[in-house]
């Protein structure tokens, strides 16, 4: 069977002082509205509470990220996203809120290694030393917007627009070149 849905750079990976890999297709749903009013529907759909400012709540395969005072990003399996979007839209009908499946508009990269923060610090005006597991920070990576989630010990997940996926992969690969460690944090 042919695979119609493909991620931006299937299988792209680079091994430097950290490992850069394209994470493949990931379900992403943007929910906007008054966060307190969304709490019930989001809890039913994902099992997660509304995350605190700039935090990510995880429950199994699903996660909810705080994106702005009126925006959440739900992360789930790619195949689950359309059904989850539909059920959320039903649950929130009548409320002043929007739900959009943005899975195909995004690309996801993982940067793995003890020095993941050092590699990203070359590209982003962010103090990665102050970020702990479960933190998310929207910023820029060189010239494009990105959201960086500290998804585990020594693991950063970076979300960007799919249209800049190649640019982002090239940036991250260049930043991870062996011998170019800035040694800021590790």
């Amino acid at each position: 069977m042919s695979e119609l849905a493909q991620s931006a750079l299937p299988g792209a990976a680079y091994e430097g002082f950290v490992t850069v890999a394209e994470a493949g297709l990931r379900g992403m749903i943007t929910v906007r509205g008054d966060l307190a009013g969304l709490a019930g529907a989001v809890k039913d759909a994902t099992g997660c509470a509304i995350p605190a400012q700039r935090r990510v709540e995880q429950a199994g395969a699903k996660a909810v990220a705080w994106m702005s005072p009126d925006e959440l990003l739900i992360l789930c399996d790619y195949a689950d996203a359309p059904a989850l979007t539909a059920s959320l839209a039903t649950a929130l009908s009548g409320q002043f809120a929007t739900v959009a499946n943005v899975s195909d508009a995004r690309a996801v990269f993982t940067v793995t290694g003890a020095q993941a923060g050092d590699a990203l610090a070359k590209l982003c005006p962010v103090d990665f030393g102050a970020m702990t597991t479960g933190d998310i920070r929207r910023t820029r990576a060189a010239q494009v917007a990105a959201a960086i989630w500290v998804s585990g010990e020594g693991e950063m997940t970076l979300v960007c627009f799919r249209s800049v996926a190649q640019y982002m992969f090239d940036l991250l690969s260049r930043a991870a070149q062996p011998g170019s460690e800035p040694k800021l944090y590790a």
């Binding site: 400012q53 700039r54 994106m67 702005s68 005072p69 925006e71 005006p125 962010v126 920070r137 929207r138 910023t139 820029r140 917007a145």
Partner: protein
């Protein structure tokens, strides 16, 4: 370099993460105003050497607008506050007065 703290998401970031939006607290001259008043609202902007109130947008972050009080000469930031204010809040004015005793005040 300008370091601003976004009051909407609490992030302190440098200038490149923000987009400038010009002078803050502009008041539109509404219907019935004279041509001179509307002309002034439309085109005349303050350009002080010192304390200035500006609009900024956290373009690469939460995307929200906010206001900042800063010194155009030293780039010192006195404070940032929500965009939903018609004039500088008391604590911002106090912070400016503490640093610039001879500041003539918001007008």
């Amino acid at each position: 370099m300008l370091l601003l703290t976004c009051p909407c998401c609490g992030v302190t970031a440098e200038e490149t993460e923000f987009a400038p939006g010009g002078e803050a607290h502009l008041k539109r001259s509404g219907p019935g105003s004279s041509d001179a008043e509307f002309d002034s609202y439309m085109f005349n902007r303050k350009n002080p050497r010192g304390v200035h109130f500006e609009r900024w947008r956290h373009a690469y972050g939460c995307g929200k607008w906010f206001l900042a009080a800063r010194c155009t000469m030293t780039l010192e930031v006195f404070g940032t506050y929500p965009a939903q204010t018609l004039e500088p809040p008391a604590e911002i004015v106090a912070a400016i007065k503490a640093k610039r005793p001879d500041w003539e005040g918001f007008a």
